[in-house]
Symmetry: C2
Subunit: 423 residues, 2 copies
């Protein structure tokens, strides 16, 4: 950092330094004490319910005055039920197994040294997120359980909500002796805090951005700190020629239409030319009945003539909506090539009864999550059994796919000797 | 990247794109084929021995003309024996177990989905290193074995050596059908290639810098790509009051003096006040006999009066030389505090016969490698049993400590279903 610290960078320097000390306290607490702190924080959220809803009402009023979108408003809104859900989320995290201290590997060397790889806290995590105020409470719960301190930077729209939630969390934590600095938020909405967090090399150990594409891209572009990014999910469901037609219909309808706005939703259907004439009309009819629209390549339109054509860029578009891109392919290799060219290495599925084709697909596709005969919407920490997730990582280092408590840890080697020296 | 691509960025764009295709070929080769390619590369290095030594002679002549240091010259120099050692290094890597395809975890969900976490290649690795030309061959061997393509950017001083080594590696690889683009080097010494590699977000998956402090710091400051940095090793050996004196003497002499220039060398001795009067004079005498000098705090000088005093900054200095900083501490907590304030989270050891004190130290110190009753010089991939290492990671994400083949991989989830859809 330069000599001329601006006030945001100065705040981050102070906050992150205090956070590191808090994380070293957290790291040495037994798991039961960290769980107790989460339950105390949950209790404090419940006790502060009315105040949190009132603070949120200020944010919502400002938002309405500025004339924002209805979908965004719903994400911003907190009700007593939503505050209760946040509190229950913390209780649920408290009930999960302790991710710290796990012996990830252990072996002995010929010289008698015993080497253990042991799970440890990451240290100080910076969470940068948008709109949904509950993300702050969820992220704090996961980070604290994993022994890390966290600096939460929510969107400006939810500033009052975030402050009220933060105050409740801190009240809960300090009531059981956990340092207040374990969870911190910047004192104002100034965007400079994001820049300062991204530049805090050596102060913050990991930045987790969660929000729209432009937020994530800005974080990736500017960060001087390692980033666990959650970029787009341009996911394919590939119906192989040996697919069970009924299974393909059920899975595609679910993968596309169960929820269209989540990153695990299917955006593109690939279907083998051999099965497309028989099956594609049925798939289209199923999805149309659910309200789905289409953008189809020429080979698909040659089979179902009334499919809308695919304009340029169709197969590079993450719709996050009730729209499906459709292309006919020749075989597994063609599908893999298509996914390499257009996919985002997030989540891709093959539907087939042919185990050899499935193996070629699972080993050939380079996605964080590759599925065989299942819906892409299973790309989710809860569905993976992680209990809770802080996001879906789309990079290639540290973690890929759903990020739960285990992925929020690092490790350390313990080397146990009896006086060994190196020859 | 901006529209105005300079020629270095243009080269990196082309090279990394071709490297990604090559890595996707490598990733699908069976382990035996990757091993065969490494053996072919080793054979090609042996066949090109005379040419490599001649190319190196040009580098050394340029270096002598510029009047460089003797230590650096020795690191730069290649002899036929050193070329043979490089080739043997590749053969050794070929003999290691395949890191790809390992099932890291597998579990079933209540809905019948089976989830497997499977080791996968990282993709495209950028290796930025200085002086020792053999680092290029070692790094290429490890990356290729782990299924990744690599772009090698060695120091300008070793440019002709690096070119000759690269040509031999490529001759070996292509003789068995591996794409030449699996290992690439920039065509000239222009420093712009480093900047272009550091800016290659989305093109290069991981940058590994290996060299002096200023190189590593530049990489950490400028990189837009994840970095596996190898920063300094400001390591402590802490002699606890319950240490076995003979063991403490043997370990400290080894930890400090076996090799003083490696990152696992001990730089600071901490010794408990209770044992210092009896033991510190012996430790000092042992190390003096080995040619070690000292910088000691006041409590140590009160015991051994002729120890040179420690100027400001002593305990924050990585000597990488026959010099030891010495401080007397009160107990384990004091030692941990001292290490938190002055250490670099690399490698720290406790010498004690007291298991409870050892546990407090191992769990309380935040180093990548924490040892009990062993020399800090064991922080090494070979000594850990990894067979070979590409460096020692000092960050907290992805990998910590010695980085071998396993740490050069990422993972992917395979989800095996029977038609599951998400409720």
């Amino acid at each position: 950092m330069d000599n001329a610290l601006d006030h945001c960078a100065e705040w981050v320097l102070t906050a992150a330094t205090a956070a590191r000390q808090a994380s070293s306290v957290l790291a040495r607490l037994p798991g039961a004490a960290r769980d107790g702190a989460l339950r105390a924080a949950a209790g404090a959220l419940r006790a502060a319910r009315a105040g949190i809803v009132a603070a949120n009402a200020r944010d919502v009023a400002d938002f309405d005055a500025a004339g924002g979108s209805k979908a965004f408003r719903d994400r911003l809104l907190l009700t007593p039920e939503r505050v209760e859900a946040m509190a229950r989320g913390l209780d649920d995290i408290a009930a999960l197994p302790d991710p710290l201290g796990r012996v990830l590997a252990e072996w002995a060397r010929p010289n008698g040294l015993v080497i253990r790889r042991v799970a440890q806290p990451l240290g100080v995590i910076g969470m940068i997120y948008e709109s949904r105020p509950n993300v702050g409470a969820d992220a704090a719960g996961l980070c604290l359980k994993a022994g890390s301190a966290v600096i939460l930077r929510g969107g400006s729209d939810s500033f009052h909500s975030a402050r009220a939630i933060h105050a409740a969390l801190v009240a809960g934590l300090t009531s059981v002796g956990v340092p207040a600095e374990a969870v911190q938020i910047p004192p104002e909405t100034d965007r400079g805090y994001v820049a300062a967090m991204l530049g805090a090399a050596g102060l913050i150990d990991l930045i987790i951005p969660r929000g729209g594409k432009s937020l994530v891209e800005r974080v990736q572009r500017e960060a001087r700190v390692p980033v666990l990014a959650h970029a787009e999910g341009l996911n394919h469901t590939y119906v192989h020629e040996a697919a069970d037609p009924a299974m393909a219909r059920a899975i595609l309808a679910n993968a596309k239409m169960r929820r269209t706005g989540i990153c695990g939703a299917t955006e593109t259907l690939l279907i083998d030319a051999a099965i497309a004439p028989a099956l594609l009309p049925l798939l289209v009819a199923d999805l149309r009945a659910l309200g789905c629209d289409f953008r189809a390549g020429p080979r698909a339109r040659a089979i179902v003539a009334d499919l809308p054509p695919a304009p340029d860029g169709t197969f590079d578009t993450e719709w996050l909506d009730a729209v499906l891109s459709v292309a006919v392919v020749d075989d597994v290799e063609h599908a893999l090539r298509f996914i390499r060219n257009h996919g985002s290495e997030h989540t891709d599925a093959i539907i087939t009864e042919d185990a050899a084709a499935a193996a070629r697909f699972l080993n050939g596709v380079d996605s964080a999550v590759a599925l065989w005969n299942a819906s892409t919407q299973f790309c989710d920490g809860g569905e993976f059994g992680f209990g809770a997730e802080i996001g879906i990582a789309t990079g290639r280092v540290h973690a890929r796919g759903p990020v739960g408590l285990e992925q929020l840890t690092t490790f350390r080697y313990h080397v146990i000797g009896t006086g060994q020296i190196r020859p």
